[in-house]
Symmetry: C2
């Protein structure tokens, strides 16, 4: 089979390496930066560097760009994908991307299934790619109700072959609501946490909890601002929710209400224990 | 030398084990629970279980109780400490504890130096104690301006002997301001984070960022509510600060203001990189 990967950054480049490592498929690579395709060729992460016209050779095309460029690329290159082939993406938001990409491709007989490989690092770019990046991670798929069962089954087994630990089937909107809480909110809160003026005095006082809370503050603001704005409603809900809860603790602490504060902390502790299965 | 440890929970019991492991001092242990002292004797974590009267034998007494009980214990037992001996504590707030404890002891010729061993686990109690608990951790000391230099130097070298990685000298109020940010705020935010109703759908979507943000949500609400209320002003400031920042992101996301959102995220990313020394 022939797999085309568009965009050889951290995710796209790692997918190329994983396909070469764990399968016998041919990998075609496309990147706007010729140095990146040269590196990928030198690493044998791709078999050939291609122009968009050659996407017609691919049985599976994986678009590994940021959300807006993903939609733009599919719009500009819809005619290049072969009828009967399958296209997927890797965006961290699914509603906007799937609703834009799917109709563009369907009218040409090309199938589209949205996907979100839940893997990443604090670094981006081809230089940090690894065939092991997806080891044990969740591969989330958002097939439409009328997606071909063969396409769904193929993409699922393809993901497991690359080392993903589990495949989660969901809808674009369910995905976006869940991800707003489990990933996007974490990045906003972490980025906000670090902004206290007390940061200048933290040296020697930073225990594990501080490092945990601020680890993902080091984010790529171009990518995340785009993801956040494409998931505005769900993320707004999560931010309002945590601000509401923080205000409850603040009121209890300001009022010196120990019983209320203890009850608030106990509620959170119990939820965490349940989520750990304790 | 003879070291008395009052309260053989996670910190006190681990201190006993570390003193026995890394020094030749005699360790006297005092705990309200006779089963705990029996376990500590069986483990050779203490040389003798004592009643409060025997604190007079100690050259160094370490009170390892929660903040309020620490103050109460010192008040009730001030007459038991020997004039010329040194008393210290392990509380996570220093202002309230030091200002209460120090005058009570000073009038009897007993020196007091507040301390905060920055180590802990998600579990509490003697069962989880370890001689290695303090390995590489910060040992924070808040000696008064008129503390004896010999006492300060002794406590510092004692901490390093037990495996602490560094000793930080500060004032009680500086300590409390820093700790409100680096530790207390982390516990409140983590405990608030887990409370979203979206939690029920997180299965399969929880990446590392979610686990980082919610790790310390599993806290001991009795201890932390007491610590929070004893550091009300500093923690109130930190909560107001993060809520203020979260509201900035919320407004930018709600308004779809990509430029503002990107600037907010960039500011946080730059601060995190600076704090990592990048």
């Amino acid at each position: 089979m022939t797999v085309a990967v568009v965009g050889l950054g951290l995710i796209g480049g790692s997918l190329c390496k994983a396909v070469k490592r764990f399968t016998t498929h041919t990998v075609l690579g496309l990147d706007a930066n010729p140095e990146v395709t040269r590196s990928a060729l030198a690493d044998c992460a791709i078999d050939r560097a291609i122009e968009p016209q050659a996407l017609s050779e691919a049985d599976l095309s994986i678009i590994c760009l940021y959300p807006e460029p993903t939609i733009e690329f599919i719009r500009a290159n819809a005619a290049n994908f072969r009828a009967g082939s399958l296209v997927t993406d890797v965006c961290g938001v699914k509603g906007t991307v799937v609703s834009a990409a799917e109709p563009l491709l369907r009218e040409r007989g090309v199938a589209f299934i949205g996907a979100h490989p839940m893997a990443g690092r604090e670094f981006s770019g081809y230089a940090y790619t690894s065939a092991e990046l997806f080891s044990g991670a969740s591969f989330i798929m958002t097939p439409s109700a009328d997606a071909s069962p063969q396409d769904v089954a193929f993409l699922e087994s393809f993901a497991l072959t690359l080392g993903f630990g589990r495949v989660v089937m969901t809808t674009p909107s369910e995905h976006d609501r869940a991800i707003a809480f489990t990933s996007q909110l974490a990045h906003v809160v972490s980025n906000a946490y670090i902004k206290s003026p007390t940061l200048v005095n933290e040296s020697g006082f930073s225990a594990g909890s501080f490092l945990d809370l601020t680890r993902v503050a080091k984010l790529n603001e171009d990518m995340w601002s785009s993801l956040f704005l494409m998931n505005r409603d769900a993320l707004t809900f999560e931010l309002e929710t945590i601000i509401g809860h923080l205000n409850e603790y603040l009121a209890a602490i300001r009022d010196g209400d120990g019983a209320e504060l203890k009850a608030l902390l106990r509620d959170g502790r119990v939820l965490k224990e349940k989520s750990l299965g304790l």
